[in-house]
């Protein structure tokens, strides 16, 4: 029931609400849900804390915008390709970084992200260096006999909603899959998981691939929606942190946690941004500290354990 209700609410929102600012916030919430889900797949389910997801996001964003500006490929094809390129790039990253465990893995991913940013700044013939890329006009597209108006928010809303649905459905699939069970085993005790015959490196690399695909989709959408990509915007270490925070605040290892986290942090962030230029990250940091201290299972994790009806059907609950 909850699933249907949520889908209906997402579908009717742009019909009821015409305010551009609210639609913009909703688009951001959807985009951040995809990114939070990307991080959650690896960090929440498998317990591998990555501080380098900005690199995967950036690869997606650059792929989409470069394919469009240099190859003429429309962004709606470029977004999935961005996810694919990020997933491919994640394989060598995973094979290197997964040789390390716990905080060492986290530090290694941090170094990878810094290297990616450095590469984007200096590899000028591909990335245009610090200047980056700007999309001036999006190609025209006709859907059901009507030309899509790229100056309106609604088309972006629809695409972001589809991406979010894909992210949530893949997390839900992962949760009930054999791989999902492997990941929980790895999170709880990696040595024990290995001892019962789980190929832990393979499970982690495959999961990182899925995580990277989602992060790349988010990055591609970012390039498409904001029409602007440069190393500071898409390879900033702050982005990795925001993905961590969304997954953590919503509830690690839950399916709808990233959506809750994204709603919470994006609305707070946008409300604060109205008043201060840079203030939203202050609140991200603060909420992060409060959640770890007082609500380590996250908002959705807490709701799920408190609501009486949900406890009984825990295994089937979102």
């Amino acid at each position: 029931m909850g699933w249907v209700g949520g889908a209906v609410a997402v579908a009717v929102l742009p019909i009821l609400v015409r305010n551009t600012f609210f639609l913009h916030v909703a688009i951001l919430v959807f985009m951040w849900t995809v990114l939070g889900a990307a991080w959650n797949v690896l960090g929440g389910f498998a317990g591998q804390v990555s501080f380098g997801h900005a690199a995967l996001f950036g690869i997606g964003a650059y792929t989409t915008i470069i394919l469009f500006l240099k190859g003429g490929l429309a962004p709606w094809w470029g977004i999935p390709l961005g996810g694919l390129v990020a997933a491919l790039a994640s394989v060598p990253i995973g094979l290197i970084c997964f040789r390390l465990r716990g905080p060492y893995f986290s530090l290694a991913t941090l170094a990878v992200a810094e290297l990616a940013k450095l590469a984007a700044l200096n590899w000028e013939w591909v990335t245009n260096g610090p200047i980056g890329f700007l999309i001036t006009t999006l190609p025209s597209l006709t859907v059901l006999g009507r030309r899509v108006d790229w100056e309106a928010k609604t088309p972006f809303y629809v695409i972001a909603a589809l991406l979010m649905a894909f992210a949530i459905l893949s997390t839900a699939w992962l949760r009930q899959s054999r791989l999902g069970a492997y990941l929980v085993a790895i999170r709880e005790d990696e040595d024990a998981a290995e001892a019962i015959g789980i190929d832990t490196v393979r499970a982690k690399v495959v999961t990182l691939g899925l995580s990277a695909f989602l992060a790349g989709l988010g990055g591609g959408f970012y390039a498409f929606y904001f029409r602007y990509v440069d190393p500071d915007a898409v390879l900033n270490i702050g982005l990795s942190m925001e993905m961590v925070f969304i997954a953590m605040v919503g509830g690690l290892g839950t399916v709808v946690g990233p959506l809750i986290g994204a709603i919470f942090l994006t609305t707070v962030g946008e409300a604060v941004r109205e008043h201060f230029q840079v203030g939203h990250l202050i609140f991200y940091g603060l909420f992060m500290m409060i959640v770890i201290r007082f609500l380590p299972e996250g908002i959705w994790g807490k709701v799920r354990s408190v609501l009486p009806g949900m406890r009984a059907v825990r295994h089937g609950a979102p």
């Binding site: 290197i96 986290s106 170094a111 500290m289």
Partner: protein, 288 residues
């Protein structure tokens, strides 16, 4: 040859300050098993404290170290006592994420308060570089090096020959055994966090005349300090000194002989290689 000597010397000078930051991080890790992602922000606070004490109170940045080191010690003690103490039992990934949140909070409060402008400290007594043997040494960096060396030696004496210092090293080597020997490890942890934070702050004040100051400088410095402590072996003080000097030299030689734009990248590559092939550090003394 002269270029080589020149970059070697400036690398060592810079490295001495990196070493100080690294020592702070490594003793905190040794005693508490905390990887403090907010360590770079503590350095940033030290830099800004030096900047404002010169601008508002007219105190020389190098003298301000005397004032702000105790202040940073108190700040570290307060952070540990009020915030971190309750998080540590939750496991190392929780503390890692918690300090990540703290780092974001501090950096962005600073950004809001002081804006993202790049600031510099100008010393009243000129900056004519000293030139022993034809090698140019910036005066500010030379003074910073001398003070960093003095502080490091003092710290070394403290750790090796006082009771508190021995208690810190004992806790770092084996926490359970330290408890059995009657060491109050909770107090040791409190003191160590204060000490580590004070070292970061002091290093920040010494660096301030030689670097640009901006609120998010900690992001760059914290990654560098991880490189340092991983090179030297997490938890090892001599390792952090060697790692700091090594990173300073690698960056400085790399900027001259490889590429100035990729000099930061060299540090990261070195970091990944050491993490992969020598996770206990180049000298094999670190803890995993």
């Amino acid at each position: 040859m002269e270029t080589f000597a020149q970059s070697l010397v400036s690398g060592l000078l810079m490295g001495s300050l990196y070493a100080m930051i690294g020592i702070g991080l490594t003793i905190i890790f040794g005693v508490m098993r905390i990887i403090n992602l907010a360590h770079g922000e503590m350095v940033m606070l030290g830099m800004f404290a030096a900047f404002f004490s010169q601008k508002l109170l007219g105190i020389d940045p190098f003298l301000s170290v005397l004032l702000l080191t105790p202040a940073m010690f108190v700040l570290g003690v307060a952070i540990y006592w009020l915030l971190l103490r309750k998080i540590i039992p939750g496991g190392e990934l929780n503390t890692l994420l918690y300090t990540a949140g703290m780092s974001l909070l501090v950096a962005n409060v600073a950004l809001l308060a002081w804006s993202g402008d790049y600031r510099t400290i100008s010393l009243s007594y000129g900056l004519a570089p000293m030139r022993p043997l034809g090698i140019a040494i910036p005066a500010a960096l030379a003074i910073a090096f001398a003070m960093a060396a003095a502080i490091t030696v003092a710290l070394w004496l403290f750790l090796s020959s006082t009771d508190t210092g021995r208690a810190i090293r004992a806790t770092s080597q084996n926490r359970e055994a330290a408890i059995l020997m009657g060491i109050d490890v909770e107090r040791v942890a409190l003191f160590t966090f204060g000490l580590g934070t004070a070292l970061a702050g002091a290093a920040g004040a010494l660096l301030a005349p030689s670097l640009y100051l901006y609120p998010t400088v900690g992001e760059l410095l914290v990654v560098k300090s991880f490189v340092i402590v991983v090179l030297g072996g997490l938890g090892s003080v001599p390792g952090a000194i060697a790692g700091g000097l090594l990173l300073g030299v690698v960056e400085s030689l790399g900027a001259v002989y490889v590429s100035a734009t990729y000099k930061d990248g060299l540090g990261y590559v070195l970091f990944l290689l050491v993490l992969l092939y020598r996770p206990t550090g180049l000298f094999g003394v670190g803890k995993s």
